[in-house]
C-alpha cells in the first residue's frame, strides 16, 4: 500500500498538503523545511521543481522559482538533497513541476531516482492525459509512483471521471479558473465541489490554488478531504529569516 493510500485510510478530513519550491529561499533549505513541515503537522509535502517558465503559476511561485534557479537548484541537486530523506521524513512527498526539465533528465531515470529517494507521487500539470496514457503510464507504474492529475471548474464530468481513473493517491481540484496565488473569490466553488463529489470518484480530493489562511483552508476543505497551500507559504518563507521557525509558525497558523 502506498504512503498516500495509508494516509487517507488513517485520516480523510482536513489533510494539509504544503507546497514549496526546492532551492528557495536558499539552495540547501530543502530538508530543514521538510522536517519543520512534518513536525509542525503537515500531512503531505509537495516539493516544487523550479522551472524558468511555469505557465500555471502566479508571481509568487514564479519568483521563488527564479530565486531557486539562481541559487543553483537543478534536479541533480534536488535528488542529492532528498536521497536520504526517508531517514527523517515519514509523511508522503510529491514532486511537482513542469514536463520540460523532467524530459531533459529523462522520464524513466527521473522516475527511478524519485522512487529510490522515497518520493511517492508526481504532479506534472502540463503532461497531457493522451501522452500519459500512450507513453508514460507504464513507467510510472513500474516505479510504483502515484500520478496526480488536476481538474478545474471547466473540466467536464466525463473528463473528471477520466482523470480520476488515470490518477492515484488523490485528485487535485483547482479551486477556480486561475493560476496559483490568486486571491479572487470564485462564486461557483460550492457547486463545483458538489459536482465533483457527486461523481463517486475513486480518489480522495484535495483542493488547491488560492488558499492562503486558516479560514480559506476550512472553506476549501469543508466537503473535501483536504487542501493544498503554496504561494502563501512561499510568502511566509520569504519574510522569515529562520526557515524552520517560519515554517512551524505558518503550519500552526493554519491548523490551530
Amino acid at each position: 500500500m502506498s504512503r498516500l493510500e495509508k494516509l487517507f485510510l488513517k485520516k480523510n478530513k482536513g489533510i494539509l498538503n504544503i507546497y514549496f519550491t526546492a532551492g528557495f529561499p536558499e539552495l540547501n533549505t530543502v530538508m530543514p523545511i521538510m522536517e519543520a513541515l512534518q513536525s509542525g503537522g503537515a500531512d503531505i509535502i509537495e516539493l516544487g521543481m523550479p522551472y524558468s517558465d511555469p505557465l500555471a503559476d502566479g508571481p509568487v511561485i514564479q519568483q521563488s522559482s527564479q530565486v531557486a534557479l539562481a541559487n543553483g537548484m537543478d534536479l541533480d541537486n534536488l535528488f542529492l538533497q532528498i536521497t536520504n530523506m526517508r531517514k527523517a521524513i515519514s509523511i508522503p512527498v510529491i514532486l511537482m513541476g513542469y514536463m520540460n526539465p523532467v524530459l531533459q533528465y529523462g522520464f524513466e531515470p527521473f522516475c527511478a531516482k524519485a522512487a529510490a529517494s522515497g518520493v511517492d507521487g508526481l504532479i506534472l500539470p502540463d503532461l497531457p492525459a493522451h501522452e500519459f496514457e500512450t507513453i508514460y503510464a507504464p513507467v510510472i507504474k513500474k516505479y510504483g509512483l502515484d500520478m496526480i492529475f488536476l481538474v478545474s471548474p471547466e473540466t467536464s464530468n466525463e473528463r473528471v471521471m477520466k482523470l480520476d481513473a488515470l490518477s492515484s493517491g488523490f485528485l487535485y481540484a483547482v479551486s477556480s479558473s486561475s493560476i496559483t496565488g490568486s486571491s479572487a473569490v470564485y462564486s461557483g466553488f460550492d457547486a463545483y465541489i458538489d459536482r465533483l463529489l457527486s461523481l463517486s470518484l475513486k480518489n480522495p480530493v484535495l483542493v488547491g490554488f488560492g488558499i492562503s489562511d486558516k479560514a480559506g483552508f476550512q472553506k476549501a476543505t469543508a466537503k473535501t478531504n483536504g487542501g493544498i497551500i503554496g504561494s502563501a507559504f512561499i510568502k511566509a518563507l520569504s519574510a522569515g529569516k529562520d526557515v524552520k521557525a517560519a515554517t512551524k509558525a505558518f503550519v500552526s497558523s493554519i491548523l490551530q
Binding site: 500555471a56 534557479l69 520540460n100 471547466e154 479558473s177
Partner: protein, 399 residues
Amino acid sequence: MTKRFSEPDENGYYGSFGGAYIPEMLHRNVEELRTRYLDIMHEPEFQQEFQLLLKDYVGRPTPLYFAKRLSERYGWDIYLKREDLCHTGAHKINNTIGQILLAIRLGKKRIIAETGAGQHGVATATVCALKGMECVVFMGEKDIQRQAPNVARMKMLGAKVVPVTSGSRTLKDATNEAIREWINDPVDTHYIIGSVVGPHPYPDMVARFQSVISAEIRVQLKEKTGKELPDAVIACVGGGSNAAGAFYHFLDEKNVKLIAVEAAGLGVNSGSSAATTQLGTVGILHGSKSLLMQTRDGQIVEPHSISAGLDYPGIGPLHAHLFETARGIFLSATDEESLAGALELSRTEGIIPALETAHAIAVLSTLREKKVLDEEDRTLVICLSGRGDKDMNTYMEHL
C-alpha cells in the same frame, strides 16, 4: 509520420513535434478550438467574410514583385512577396483576421495576444477595433522600449498594452503572461497567438490562415513566368508564421527548396543568439513539443536577436519537423548581416524591410558560398514579411 508535411496528425504532431502540453485549466478552451476550428474555417459564410476582408481591408493579393536590380546583383530571378504592403505593415494580419472571425463564432467577448516586434500586437489591436472587441496585448518591457512606434499604434487603436517584467522581458515572457491570463479568464477570452507555436491546433490553424501567402505566390508566379513552381522560397523564422505561410503550398513539392533563416544574433556560438535549430534540443515550451534553446537541466535559455520578432527561444513544430526531416534548409543571419541586408534592399529596390525580414535578405550573399542552390536553380521567392517603419530607431543607430 504525417503523410503530408502540411498536416499534423489528429493529436497535433508533425512527426515527433507538436501536441498540446497544457495545464488542465486550458483544456476546455483548447479542446473547443481543436474540435471546431476546421469546421468553422470551412463554413461558406466564414470563407466569404474572411476573403472579403483579406481583399478590401488587408489589400490582398499582395504583389509578387520582380526585384530587377537585386536579381542582376546576384544572378537569379528574385521575386519579393510583398507582405509589407498588407494593412498594418506585415503578414501578421492574415492570421488575426482569421482568428477574430473564429473567436466571434466561438462566442468570445475579449481578445488577448502576445507580441514581440509589436506587429502581431498591432494586427490584433486592428482587428479588435474593426470588430469592436476588447483587446489586451502582452509585450515584454524590453520590446516596449525598442518598438515604441508599434506600442503607440496599439494604444491609438484602443488596445491595452500590458508590460511584461518577468524573465527576459521579451516575446517568450509575453507569451507566458498571455497564457496565464487565458487561464484566469477561460470562458470569455480568446487568445490570438501570433505564430505557428502553442498547443495544437494553433500551429496548424495559424499556418492555414497564413497559407494565403503561398497560394498567391503560385498563381502570381505562373502569371508572370509561366512556371508552376519557384526553385526556392526564402523566409525568416522566429516562431515561423510568415515562413509557414510562404512554404505551405510548396511543402509537398519536393523540387522547391524551402529556406528558413533564423536570427544568429551576435553569432551562432556567441552565447547571444536565437538560432533555435542550431542551438536547440527537443523540449516543451508554450504548449508544444519542439526544438528549443535550453540548458542541460531543461531551463529555457534567453535568446538574443536585434530583431524583437525573432527573439524567441523556440520554433514552431512544423518547422522543427522540416528541420528534422531535412525538408527545410535552415540558415542564419547575424544582427550585423541583417542590418546590411536591410540597407541593401533599401538602396537597391527602394524598400525598407522590417529587421525580421532583413534576415531573409541577408542570406542572398551566402547562398553560393554555402552551395544551398543547384546550378540550374533560377527563380527565388523571398517572403518580404514586413516593412521597416517600426525599426527606424534601430536603423538610425547603426547607419
